[in-house]
C-alpha cells in the first residue's frame, strides 16, 4: 500500500538453537553476502531467545545465496531458512531486542 522506499532482502530463520545469538547468526550468514540487519527476538520472561529470527541482506545476491544453500547447520542444528514474507518492520517484538 504505502510506497516502498527501499527494497529489503530478508530471510526468516527458524529452529535457531539456543546457543546461537544474533552475533553468531550474523557471522554465519555473512558468508552469503553483506548482512544489513539481524535480529533474534528475546523472550523477556526467560532470557532465552525465541528460536527464530530475521537476517536482512543488503543485496538480492546475498539473499539468493543464502536461500540456495541447504542445509544450514549451526552448532550441530539444522536451521530452517525461508524468504521472509512479512517485512520485519511489522514485528513489534523488536522493541525487545533492537540490535540494529
Amino acid at each position: 500500500m504505502a510506497a516502498q522506499t527501499k527494497k529489503v532482502f530478508e530471510i526468516f530463520v527458524t529452529k535457531v538453537p539456543w546457543t546461537i545469538s544474533f552475533k553468531e547468526m550474523r557471522e554465519y550468514f555473512g558468508q552469503f553476502g553483506q548482512v544489513k540487519r539481524c535480529m533474534i527476538p528475546l523472550d523477556r520472561a526467560t532470557g532465552f531467545h525465541k528460536g527464530y529470527g530475521w537476517v536482512g541482506f543488503s543485496s538480492e545476491e546475498g539473499l539468493n545465496n543464502a536461500l540456495q544453500k541447504d542445509p544450514h547447520t549451526l552448532d550441530g542444528a539444522k536451521l530452517q531458512v525461508q524468504r521472509n514474507r512479512r517485512p520485519f518492520t511489522d514485528q513489534k517484538t523488536n522493541k525487545d531486542s533492537e540490535f540494529d
Binding site: 500500500m1 504505502a2 510506497a3 522506499t5 527501499k6 539456543w18 546457543t19 545469538s21 552475533k23 553468531e24 550474523r26 548482512v35 544489513k36 540487519r37 539481524c38 528475546l42 523472550d43 523477556r44 520472561a45 526467560t46 532470557g47 532465552f48 531467545h49 543488503s58 542445509p71 547447520t73 552448532d75 550441530g76 542444528a77 539444522k78 514474507r85 518492520t89 511489522d90 513489534k92 523488536n94 533492537e98 540490535f99 540494529d100
Partner: protein
C-alpha cells in the same frame, strides 16, 4: 517432537501390529485374528467358529477398572509449556484457559509439571473463587500425574490445595473425597481410613461404592486385612456390588501381610463370585512377587495371565519394573524389559516410568530403561539432531543430581548417538530453572570439552535478578562469567548489568569490590556513553583511537544526541559524524544510512524552540558535513525536511538539502498518487439481457395469468389450470408452464407433463425448466419404466445448462430412492452414472447409498458388497458400509467379511476398517469381539467416528451398545473420556434413566475422570427432572430459566413484606444463593439491600458473595454502594480483598466518573498486591487521563504497566493517542503533533490508527487543533508515504457527516482513495450496527469505486437487514441483479429474512443451510483466496 512421536508410532503400527500373524495376506490384516485372542498368534482361530462360540457369551459385568489413573493416559510428549503459559495465565479471567491447558496436558501426556500445576493453583486462588469442578481437577492432579515430584511432597500439596480451596469457598462433594483418596493411594500416603470416614460424615457427605473400594485399597496397601474386611462388611450390608477392584486390593493386602498363599487364593474366590480376574488382578499379584524379588513366580504368573486371556500391557510390565527397582531387585529388571513389546504409547509410558525412577533416585535403572527406547524414531531425525532423553536430562538437572553422574549419562548418550548435544541441553535446563551454581558448573564442563561459552548463555540467570533488582545476584553471575573467561558484551551490560545499578560509577565500584575486572572492551561502550554526555572532544579522541573496538552506534546513539544538543562543540560533532560515516566499526549496516538516521533522530529529538535557538549551530554543522562529502538518502532527507518545516526553520532545509546525493536530489514535491486501475463491470451485458426479456413478453396479461396458474397448481387443481392454459396459450409464460409441469409430475400425470414441456419448448426453445421440474420429470419417467427418455432428459439438463446446486443432490437422492422399491440395480446405476458423468451432482456417500440399498432391501449382501466395491472404485465412496458389515457379521459370512475388510483396509487404511468392524460388533451385541478390536495395538481414538456411532445409539435408544462402547474405550489411545460418558448421559437424559446416570457418575469417579461442566449440568438435569437430589455443586450458567427468576422475586417480596420477621432464608447458605442469583440477574440494587439487611442482623458470608455483589454494583456504575459492600466485607471476612475483576471494574467506574486520581490509586494498589488489571480498565483510565490533560498520569500508567511483565494486549496507540489528546487539552497542539509525527515517521508504525485523536478533536470542535493535525496527516502522506493518518481523518470527517471537509481532504490528499483496506474495514465496522448505511453511502459518493462490488454489496445488504429496511434491500437487490453481480448466500439469506419479517414471500429460493454455515463458507473461501494470492 510431539508430531515425531506420533508419526513414529503410526509407522510402527502399520507394518507390525496387525500383520504379524503368519498365514495372513500381505495386503490386509488377517480377519481371523480379530476374532481370536488378539495378541497370541498361536491361537488364530477360524472366525465362524469363534463367532458362534462367543456370541452367547456376552458378560454384563463392567470392564476391568484401572488401578492407577496413569493407565488412562497414553501419550507423553516432551514439552516446555511453562514458558508460554507464564505470561498469559496472569491475565484476568484466564484461569479457565489455564484449566483447559492442565486438562489437555493430562489427557495427552499422562503427566503435569509441578510448575504448571502451581501456577494454575495460584491463579485460581488469586483471581477468584474456585468452582467444585476446578477443585476436583486440581486435587486429582496431585497424584501419579506428577512423576517428577517426590511422593511425600505430592500429598502435602494435595492437602495444601484442599485447605486453601475450602477456605476460598469451594464446595466439596463425594467426588472430591474420592479424588483425595485416589491421590493418597497413588502417593502411598499413610492415613487412617476411619478418620477419613469420620471426616466425611462430619461434612455430611455420604460415602459411595468408590469411596469404600478405595478405603479397602488403603488398608490393603498396609497389609491390614482386618481393616479391609470391616469395610467390605459395610459394603455388603449396604448391598453395594463388589467389583474386581476390591479383589485386586485384597490380593495386594494379603501379600503385604506376608501371606502370599491367601493372595493367590483370591483368584478362585473371584471366579466363585462370578468375576473373572482382570489383568489388574494379575498385576497385583505380580507386584507382590516383585516386592519379594521372586523371579520364578513372576514368570509363572505372567504365563498364567497370558493363558487366562488377560494380556499384560507394557504399562503393566513397567509397573512391575518400578516395583522391582523400588524393592532393590534391579538384577531382575533385564528379564522384564525383554518382555516389553513396545506397543502403542510405549514411549510416553516409559518416559513417565523413567521420571518416577529418577525421582526415587533410581536413575541408573531409569537410564537402563531410556536405552530401550525404540531407535526407530532416530531414523526420522536427521542424524545431526538426535535428542533422545531430553526429558531425562531435564529431570536429572532439576532434582540436582551430582554433576559427575550427569556427566556420565551425557557422555554415554552422545557416544551411543542417541543425543547430539546432551551437555548443552542439560545446561539449557539448568538455565531455564535459574540454577546458577549448577549452570556455571555445566558451563565449566562444556568449556573443558572445548565448547564455546557465549555471553548470552548467562542471560536467563540474569533475567530474574534484574527483575528482582538483585545486585548481588547479578554480581554473582558476572563473577561466574569472569571465572569462565567470558566478558560481558554490550547487550549484557546494558540490559542486565546497568539496570540494577544507579550508574556506571556504581557498577565500577561494585565490580571492583567483587574483584571483577573492568578491562572488558564492552565496558567501553559505557564509557563512551558517559563521555558523550560530558565531553565531545574527549569522546572524539576515544573513538578515533584505532585500538577502540567495534561498537555499533545504536549502543550510544541516545547519549550522543544528548551530547550534540548539549554542547556547542561543532568541530567535534563534525569529526565524530565523519568518523561514524567512514568507519565501519560503528555500523552494522551501511554507515551512510546509520549517520543519516542519526541526523534524523537528532532533529527529531529537538523541540521547535531548541532548533530555533540552535539554528546557527546546526547550520554550521550541516555545512561542515557537506564539506566532508557526507551524503544522505532522499527518503531520510524528506523526513528531516518535514521536521524542519514543522519547526519553522526553512533556512535550515537548504543546508540539509545539499547533503542529498545530487543525482537523486529532486525538487521538493509530492509523492505522486498511485494510478487507479480502471475496472469493468457487467452492467452492459446485464442490461441487454433484461431488454431482451422485456421485448419477449410485452403483453400485460402474462404475469397475472402466471399467478393464477400458480395458485391453481398450489391447490392441485390441474384441470382448471389446463383450461386456463388452453384459453390463453399466447400469453403463457415459462414460469406458468413450469408450475403446470411440476403439478403433473406430482400427480404422476406423465403424459400431460411431457405434452406441456413440448408446448413450452415450441413457444421458446431457448428456455429451460429449472432443475426441480426436470428432476420431477425424470422421476416420473423412471417410475413408468421409461429409462431411456429419463436419460435423455438428464442430458438435456446439461445441454440447457440448468443450474444445479447442493439441494438438488438431495432431490436426485429421493428420485433414485423411489426406484429402490422397483428393485432394478442396473437402472439406478445407469442413472447415477449419467448424473455424475454430466456433472449434475458430485459423487457422495449419500447418493451412492442407493446402489447399496437396492441390494440390501433384497437381503443380497454379496450384491451389496460388490456394489460398494464398485462405488469405491468409481467414485471413491463407501456407502452404507456399516449396514453391510453388520449384515455379514450377523450372517457369519466370514469369506465375504474378510473380503470386505481387506478391501476397506486397502482403500481406507486399517484403522478405518477396524472401526467399521468395531461398530458392527457393537451393533450386533458381540461385545467380546468388539473389545478385542478396540484393544488392537496401534488403535487410537477417532472422535468423529466414535461420535457417529454414539449419536446412532442415542437416536436408536441403544443403551447397551453405547454403554459397552464407553466402557471399552477406557484405555483407547487419546480417547476423550468425558465426551464418551456424556454420550451415555445424553441417552439417559432422553429416557429419564436417572439410576443409570447416577451409576455412570460413580463410574466416572472410579475411572478418575474430571467431568466437564457441560457433563455435570447434564447429569444434574437428569437427576432434577426425576425428582432426585443433586449430590454435587452444579456449575451455574448466566442464562437461567425464567421460572427461577419468578421464584426468587416472590421470595424477595415475602422478605420485604415481613421485614421484621425471620426471612424464609434465614440460614446463611440460603441467603447466599439468593444474593448470587440476584447478582447474576442484574438486580444488584436488590441484592445490595438484602446484604445490608443481613449485615444488620450480624450475618456473614464467605468472600465470594461480597465480591460478586461488588462486581454487580460496579457493572451498574454504583461505585459508592460497591465501596460500602467492600467495607462490610472487610469487616466480616478477615483478609478480604477484591478480586482482579472487581478492581478492574472499580477503575473503569472511577475513570468514567472522572475520578482519575482515585482510579490511579486503585491501579497502584492493585499492582502492589500483584494483581493484574483488565485491558478495559487501562484503556478507560488512560482515556480519562487524556481528556483531563493529565500527561503525568498517562506516563505513570505507562510505566506502571511496564513493570508488569505481561502484555495486556493493549492497543499500540493507546498511550500515544491519549498523550496527544492530553497535549491538545492543555492547549499544546504543537507537542501533540510532534509526538504523533515522531511515531509515524518510523516505518514500523505507519499502520497504527489515530482515529481516536481525530474523533475527539472533531467532537470538541477544536478547529485549531484540527488544522494542525490535518496538516500533519497530509505531510505524512505526501512526504513519508504514510497514508494512515490522512485516511483516518478523512473517515472521521465522513463519520461526522462533514462531507464538504472530507471532500477537500480527499482533493488535497488523493492517495486516501487508494487505501482500500482501511476504507473497507471502515465499511465493515459501520455495518455492524444499525442506522449506519448513510455513512457508507456518503463514503461511496466521495470515493465511488474503492472496492469491488461483490465485496461491498454484502455489507450494504447487512446494513439494510440491521435497519430492517426491506424497501432499501429490494432496491439494492434489483441493482445487484441488474449489474449481474453474484450475491453470496449469506446475504441472500439476510434478504430472505427481511422478506419474511415483513410477511412477504421470498421471491427466490432461500439458501437452505444456517447463517453460521454460510458465514463459515465465506470465511473459508476468503482464506483460500488468500492462500492462492500468496502462491
Amino acid at each position: 517432537m510431539a508430531a515425531l512421536l506420533r508419526s513414529a508410532r503410526l509407522l510402527k503400527f502399520s507394518p507390525s501390529g496387525l500383520l504379524q500373524i503368519a498365514g495372513s495376506k500381505s495386503t490386509g490384516p488377517p480377519i481371523g485374528r480379530l476374532y481370536s485372542g488378539a495378541l497370541r498368534g498361536s491361537e488364530t482361530g477360524v472366525c465362524s467358529r469363534q463367532i458362534s462360540r462367543t456370541s452367547g457369551d456376552v458378560s454384563s459385568r463392567l470392564g476391568p477398572y484401572t488401578v492407577g489413573c496413569v493407565r488412562n493416559y497414553a501419550v507423553a510428549t516432551e514439552q516446555k509449556e511453562e514458558g508460554s503459559a507464564g505470561v498469559r495465565t496472569k491475565q484476568v479471567q484466564q484461569f479457565d484457559w489455564a484449566l483447559a491447558k492442565l486438562d489437555s496436558s493430562v489427557r495427552r501426556t499422562g503427566r503435569i509439571t509441578k510448575t504448571l500445576l502451581l501456577r494454575i493453583f495460584h491463579d485460581i486462588c488469586r483471581t477468584g473463587y474456585p468452582s467444585g469442578n476446578q477443585a476436583l481437577l486440581l486435587l486429582r492432579s496431585c497424584g501419579a500425574l506428577l512423576p517428577e515430584m517426590p511422593l511425600q511432597e505430592r500429598s502435602e500439596l494435595a492437602h495444601h490445595i484442599w485447605e486453601k480451596l475450602q477456605e476460598l469457598g469451594a464446595q466439596y462433594d463425594v467426588s472430591h473425597y474420592n479424588a483425595l483418596l485416589k491421590v493418597y493411594l497413588q502417593n502411598e500416603f499413610n492415613f487412617s481410613p476411619t478418620d477419613f470416614l469420620a471426616k466425611m460424615e462430619a461434612s455430611n457427605i455420604q460415602p459411595n461404592r468408590v469411596t469404600y473400594q478405595r478405603l479397602i485399597a488403603a488398608y490393603c496397601q498396609n497389609g491390614n486385612i482386618e481393616g479391609a474386611s470391616t469395610i467390605l462388611g459395610f459394603m455388603k450390608s449396604k448391598d453395594l456390588p463388589i467389583t474386581d477392584a476390591v479383589f485386586n486390593s485384597l490380593v495386594t493386602g494379603h501379600a503385604r501381610a506376608g501371606d502370599i498363599e491367601s493372595a493367590k487364593n483370591i483368584f478362585p474366590v473371584m471366579k466363585g463370585a462370578g468375576i473373572e480376574p482382570s489383568p489388574d488382578t494379575y498385576l497385583s499379584l505380580l507386584n507382590a512377587y516383585a516386592e519379594k524379588g521372586d523371579l520364578d513366580s513372576l514368570k509363572q504368573t505372567m504365563e498364567e495371565a497370558e493363558s487366562a486371556d488377560c494380556s499384560l500391557m507394557d504399562r503393566d510390565i513397567m509397573q512391575v519394573i518400578y516395583t522391582l527397582a523400588k524393592a532393590g531387585h534391579q538384577q531382575h529388571i533385564p528379564e522384564m524389559v525383554e518382555r516389553l513389546r513396545h506397543e502403542r504409547g510405549y514411549v510416553p509410558d516409559a518416559m513417565n516410568l523413567c521420571l518416577r525412577l529418577i525421582t526415587l533416585q533410581l536413575e541408573d535403572t531409569a537410564f537402563y530403561i531410556l536405552k530401550t527406547f525404540p531407535t526407530l524414531q532416530s531414523e526420522s531425525f536427521s542424524d545431526d539432531s538426535a535428542s533422545l532423553g531430553n526429558f531425562f536430562l531435564r529431570h536429572c538437572v532439576n532434582i540436582g543430581m551430582s554433576l559427575e553422574k550427569l556427566g556420565i549419562f551425557c557422555k554415554e548418550l552422545e557416544e551411543s548417538k542417541l543425543h547430539s548435544s546432551p551437555l548443552t541441553f542439560s545446561l539449557s535446563c539448568a538455565l531455564d530453572s535459574k540454577m546458577t551454581a549448577r549452570s556455571l558448573e555445566l558451563m565449566k564442563m562444556l568449556k573443558e570439552q572445548d565448547f564455546p561459552i557465549r555471553p548470552h548463555y548467562f542471560w536467563p540467570l540474569l533475567t530474574q535478578h534484574v527483575k528482582d533488582n538483585n545486585t548481588s545476584g547479578v554480581i554473582e553471575v558476572i563473577k561466574g562469567m569472569q571465572d569462565l573467561g567470558v566478558s560481558p558484551d554490550v547487550e549484557t551490560i546494558t540490559k542486565y548489568i546497568l539496570p540494577v545499578f544507579q550508574n556506571m560509577e556504581a557498577v565500577r565500584q561494585a565490580f571492583q569490590e567483587a574483584g571483577i575486572s573492568l578491562e572488558s572492551e564492552n565496558f567501553w561502550s559505557l564509557e563512551v556513553r558517559s563521555m558523550a554526555v560530558n565531553n565531545l572532544a574527549e569522546l572524539c579522541a576515544k573513538l578515533s583511537d584505532p585500538l577502540f573496538p567495534s561498537l555499533d552506534l545504536s549502543a550510544f546513539r541516545g547519549s550522543l544526541i544528548i551530547g550534540f544538543k548539549k554542547f556547542d562543540d561543532v568541530e567535534s560533532m563534525v569529526k565524530i559524524t565523519e568518523l561514524l560515516y567512514k568507519d565501519e566499526r560503528f555500523s552494522k549496516g551501511d554507515p551512510a544510512e546509520t549517520v543519516s538516521y542519526l541526523l534524523y533522530k537528532l532533529m527529531d529529538s529537538m523541540s521547535e524552540r531548541e532548533v530555533q535557538t540552535q539554528e546557527e549551530k546546526l547550520k554550521n554543522y550541516f555545512n561542515q558535513l557537506h564539506t566532508k562529502n557526507i551524503i544522505i538518502p532522499q527518503n531520510i532527507y524528506r523526513g528531516i525536511r518535514n521536521l524542519l518545516e514543522l519547526y519553522n526553520v526553512p533556512e535550515l532545509i537548504k543546508n540539509i538539502n545539499v547533503l542529498v546525493d545530487p543525482a537523486n536530489r529532486g525538487p521538493i514535491g509530492n509523492v505522486p498518487a498511485l494510478p487507479r486501475t480502471p475496472r469493468t463491470d457487467g452492467k452492459v451485458s446485464a442490461l441487454e439481457s433484461k431488454l431482451a426479456e422485456l421485448i419477449a413478453e410485452n403483453k400485460p396479461i402474462a404475469s397475472v395469468l402466471k399467478q393464477t396458474i400458480q395458485a391453481l397448481c398450489a391447490e392441485e387443481n390441474l384441470q382448471r389450470a389446463l383450461e386456463l392454459k388452453q384459453q390463453h396459450k399466447q400469453n403463457m409464460s415459462i414460469g406458468a408452464y413450469a408450475s403446470l409441469i411440476g403439478l403433473c409430475c406430482r400427480l404422476d400425470n406423465l403424459e400431460e407433463a411431457l405434452n406441456l414441456k413440448t408446448e413450452m419448448s415450441q413457444m421458446d426453445s431457448s428456455k429451460a425448466l429449472d432443475a426441480n421440474k426436470y428432476i420431477g420429470l425424470v422421476k416420473s419417467l423412471c417410475n413408468n419404466g421409461r429409462v431411456e427418455e429419463a436419460l435423455d432428459l438428464l442430458k438435456e439438463m446439461k445441454e440447457k445448462d440448468v443450474a444445479v446446486n447442493d439441494t438438488h443432490a438431495a432431490l436426485f437422492f429421493h428420485m433414485l430412492n423411489s426406484l429402490v422399491a422397483k428393485g432394478s440395480a442396473q437402472t439406478i446405476q445407469l442413472l447415477l452414472d449419467t448424473i455424475f458423468a454430466l456433472g449434475l451432482a458430485k459423487p457422495s456417500a449419500n447418493l451412492c447409498s442407493v446402489l447399496i440399498t437396492v441390494h440390501l432391501e433384497r437381503d443380497d449382501l454379496a450384491g451389496a458388497l460388490e456394489a460398494m466395491l464398485e462405488c469405491q472404485k468409481r467414485y471413491k465412496q463407501l456407502p452404507r458400509i456399516h449396514d453391510i458389515i453388520v449384515g455379514l457379521v450377523e450372517k457369519g459370512d466370514t469369506a465375504l467379511l474378510q473380503k470386505a475388510m481387506d478391501f476397506v483396509s486397502q482403500e481406507r487404511g486399517e484403522m478405518t476398517m477396524l472401526y467399521d468392524l468395531f461398530f458392527a460388533f457393537l451393533q450386533t451385541g458381540r461385545y467380546r469381539e468388539a473389545r478385542k478390536i478396540v484393544e488392537t495395538p496401534g488403535m487410537r481414538a477417532r472422535p468423529g467416528r466414535l461420535q457417529w456411532f454414539a449419536e446412532k445409539c442415542i437416536l436408536g435408544n441403544q443403551l447397551e451398545a453405547l454403554e459397552h462402547m464407553v466402557d471399552m474405550t477406557a484405555k483407547l489411545f487419546e480417547c476423550d473420556r468425558d465426551e464418551m460418558y456424556s454420550y451415555a448421559l445424553r441417552l439417559c437424559y432422553n429416557t429419564n434413566n436417572w439410576q443409570k446416570a447416577e451409576a455412570l457418575w460413580t463410574k466416572m469417579q472410579e475411572d478418575n475422570i474430571i467431568p466437564r461442566e457441560r457433563t455435570l449440568r447434564l447429569l444434574a438435569d437428569i437427576l432434577k427432572n426425576n425428582g432426585q437430589k443433586v449430590p454435587f455443586e452444579v456449575p451455574e450458567t448466566w442464562y437461567q430459566k425464567a421460572a427461577d427468576t419468578k421464584e426468587v422475586q416472590q421470595q424477595l417480596l415475602q422478605t420485604a413484606e415481613t421485614k421484621d420477621l425471620p426471612t424464609p432464608a434465614e440460614n446463611g447458605a440460603g441467603y447466599q444463593v439468593q444474593l448470587l442469583t440476584l447478582c447474576k440477574k442484574g438486580k444488584a440494587k436488590q441484592a445490595y439491600g438484602m446484604l445490608k439487611d443481613a449485615d444488620k442482623r450480624g450475618m456473614a458470608f464467605g468472600p465470594a458473595p461480597y465480591d460478586f455483589l461488588i462486581r454487580a454494583l460496579l457493572a451498574e456504575g454504583a461505585l459508592e454502594d460497591a465501596m460500602v459492600v467492600r467495607d462490610i466485607a472487610v469487616a466480616r471476612v478477615p483478609g478480604f480483598h477484591l478480586s482482579d475483576t472487581a478492581n478492574t471494574l472499580i477503575i473503569v467506574t472511577q475513570s468514567k466518573k472522572g475520578q482519575t486520581e482515585d482510579a490511579l490509586e486503585t491501579l497502584r494498589s492493585m499492582l502492589q498486591a500483584n494483581q493484574v488489571p483488565g485491558q478495559l480498565a487501562i484503556t478507560r483510565l488512560t482515556q480519562a487521563l487524556g481528556s483531563d490533560g493529565n500527561l503525568a498520569g498517562i506516563n505513570e500508567v505507562e510505566s506502571l504497566l511496564k513493570s508488569l511483565s505481561t502484555s495486556l494486549n493493549l492497543s499500540n496507540m493507546l498511550f500515544v493517542n491519549n498523550k496527544a489528546l492530553a497535549h491538545i487539552k492543555n492547549g499544546d497542539v504543537e507537542s501533540a503533533v510532534e509526538d504523533l509525527e515522531a511515531i509515524f515517521t518510523d516505518p514500523d508504525n505507519q499502520k497504527f490508527s489515530v482515529s481516536f485523536v481525530f474523533k475527539s478533536v472533531l467532537k470538541e470542535d477544536n478547529d485549531k487543533a484540527l488544522d494542525k493535525l490535518s496538516a500533519m496527516a497530509e505531510r505524512l502522506a505526501n512526504h513519508f508515504a504514510c497514508y494512515r493518518p490522512a485516511t483516518d481523518l478523512f473517515l472521521q470527517l465522513v463519520d461526522m457527516n462533514k462531507l464538504e471537509e472530507a471532500k477537500f481532504m480527499l482533493a488535497r490528499c488523493n492517495a486516501v482513495a487508494d487505501q482500500k483496506d482501511i476504507l473497507m474495514s471502515y465499511v465493515m465496522r459501520r455495518a455492524q450496527s444499525p442506522g449506519q448505511v448513510g455513512k457508507i453511502n456518503a463514503l461511496l459518493s466521495l470515493i465511488p469505486d474503492f472496492a469491488e462490488k461483490d465485496s461491498l454489496y454484502p455489507y450494504l445488504m447487512k446494513c439494510h437487514a440491521l435497519d430492517k429496511d426491506l424497501q432499501a434491500a429490494k432496491t439494492l437487490y434489483e441493482q445487484i441483479q441488474k449489474e449481474g453481480v453474484v450475491l453470496d448466500e449469506l446475504s441472500l439469506k439476510r434478504l430472505a429474512g427481511l422478506y419474511r419479517r415483513n410477511g412477504e414471500t421470498v421471491p427466490f429460493s432461500e439458501p437452505p443451510e444456517t447463517f453460521k454455515f454460510y458465514a463459515a463458507k465465506l470465511k473459508d473461501t476468503a482464506a483460500k483466496a488468500d492462500v492462492t494470492a500468496e502462491k
